[in-house]
């Protein structure tokens, strides 16, 4: 009986460890995907084409908000401030 209980505990621990490892790798993968999405978001403004005649949008350049071409890889600077 005691032997069976020990075996169950070992198996349960193994299962928990596997689950944790799976969750961790899945979370890492999600994080990587999210990073890629953010990078693409940074790179191409979805409404870029429509904005081409107007020139673009305001982006952070060297600590200042400045106009940028709609294809710019820079992030938006809508609130008028850059870090």
């Amino acid at each position: 009986m005691k032997k069976n209980l020990n075996l169950s505990i070992v198996m349960l621990s193994f299962f928990c460890l596997s689950l944790f490892s799976f969750t961790r790798s899945y979370a890492q993968e999600l994080e990587e995907v999210a990073d890629v999405v953010i990078e693409v978001g940074k790179a191409i403004d979805s409404s870029c084409d429509a904005k081409r005649p107007e020139g673009g949008f305001t982006a952070c350049k060297g600590g200042e908000c400045a106009p940028a071409k709609c294809i710019s890889f820079r992030s938006r600077c809508d609130n008028g401030e850059c870090s």
């Binding site: 990078e39 191409i44 020139g55 060297g62 600590g63 106009p67 071409k69 294809i71 820079r74 992030s75």
Partner: protein, 397 residues
């Protein structure tokens, strides 16, 4: 100014005997304060010539000390960027009054990024907008910088090339726009395409154009000029030293200095190289930190290090009459507490017929704008803490 004086007077409400001398005293003090003052400093003395610099301190109507000076003929204009004001001064430092202010007039000027003197008046550039005025500051028209689409959007995104005009934007840092003899504007360009940029693309260094020729009335860029010299092959990516400065002469020679190159290049208007000359600056820190990826673009730390601590060549001015070329450079600094680029030590070189005549230290924001008589007018002295500002007059004897 007048409002302040009235409030001062209210403090001394009392007998007429007391009020009268107080009023006279305040008036005298006010006049004394508004007088421009000049300080003089000797920069260099050799057996051939001497250089002196006068600092003409001004009392603008309103000033945040965040601005620049511009020169048109004999008039000097102080542009306060925070207040959006343009005030005219004589070369002696006397104010001729405010000429233009933000949100002024039917054109609703949105701000002032740069003042561009022209043959017929002025152009104010605010971001990518050009506001045109005649010589009496009457509004003529407005245009917005644009370039025609030469290829499909997909082609531009997937397969960028240096000649694709629609990729380019106006360079934001250290801008300079000048009117050319034919009335077009020459303006510095930049490109920040996701895969064609100074951070990750070698093609950017080899192919990207550096100057645009713009029709001020339509805002349309009609031509792009130039590219960077082979010196940029020595580095992989130095995104914060890709800038340049230029001087376009009356006979259409273009003198160019690039930040990472000690040589000065002289081109004709089709960018055919006519001449090079130059000399390396003294004790410059040019061991540039090179970027490896696009993340650098989003870190201001890297940008500030490049501008405050590294050495690079900066501005150029050509005195065509006397065949003199003035070029400034920053030496770089180990100090980590510098507020901005203007504290990175600045020196100036003078060349005649390609030979270096002198190399001397100048104030941190020194930039020659032009000449009035025998003196060179330069931008500018700004002291935010003590609320002082002025322009420089360089005397070469």
């Amino acid at each position: 100014m007048f409002v302040i004086e009235l409030s001062k007077l209210n403090l001394f409400k009392g007998s007429l005997i007391f009020q009268t001398p107080t009023f006279v005293l305040i008036c005298m003090l006010s006049f004394a304060c508004s007088e421009p003052s000049v300080t003089n400093q000797k920069l260099l003395e050799t057996s051939d010539f001497s250089l002196e610099i006068d600092t003409v301190l001004l009392e603008p109507v309103q000033s945040s000390q965040i601005g620049s000076f511009y020169l048109k003929d004999n008039a000097i204009f102080y542009v306060d960027k925070a207040y959006g004001l343009v005030e005219e001064f004589t070369v002696e430092g006397e104010s001729n009054g405010i000429r233009k202010r933000e949100l002024d007039g039917p054109e609703e000027l949105q701000g002032v990024s740069e003042l561009i003197p022209t043959k017929d008046g002025f152009i104010i550039r605010h971001d990518w907008s050009f506001y045109q005025y005649d010589s009496n500051w009457e509004f003529i028209g407005k245009s917005i910088f644009q370039s025609a689409s030469t290829v499909s959007y997909q082609e531009m995104m997937d397969n960028p090339k240096g000649e694709y005009m629609e990729m380019y934007e106006l360079l934001h840092y250290n801008p300079k726009t000048v009117e050319l003899p034919d009335g077009f504007l020459a303006i510095k360009l930049d490109v920040e395409h996701p895969i064609f940029n100074a951070f990750i693309s070698r093609e950017y260094y080899r192919e990207s154009r550096v100057l645009g020729r713009v029709n001020p009335f339509s805002g349309m860029m009609v031509e792009m000029l130039g590219n960077r010299p082979d010196t940029y092959e020595r580095y992989k990516f130095i995104p914060f030293h890709v800038m340049l400065d230029f001087h376009w002469t009356k006979d259409n020679s273009i003198y160019v200095t690039y930040e990472a190159d000690s040589m000065i290049y002289v081109y004709d208007q089709s960018w055919k190289l006519k001449e090079t000359f130059g000399a390396a600056g003294i004790a410059m820190k040019t061991d540039y930190v090179e970027s490896q990826d696009l993340d650098v673009a989003f870190e201001s730390k890297y940008f500030y290090h490049s501008r405050k601590n590294e050495g690079f060549y900066k501005d150029i001015f050509v005195d065509e009459e006397n065949e003199l070329v003035f070029r400034t450079y920053r030496q770089g600094s180990d100090r980590q507490d510098l507020l901005d680029e203007t504290y990175n030590p600045l020196r100036m070189q003078i060349f005649r017929e390609g030979k270096l005549l002198g190399d001397f230290s100048v104030p941190g924001r020194f930039r020659i704008l032009g000449k009035v008589g025998d003196r060179y007018v330069a931008d500018g002295y700004f002291d935010e803490q003590n609320e002082k500002q002025g322009f420089y007059l360089l005397n070469l004897n």
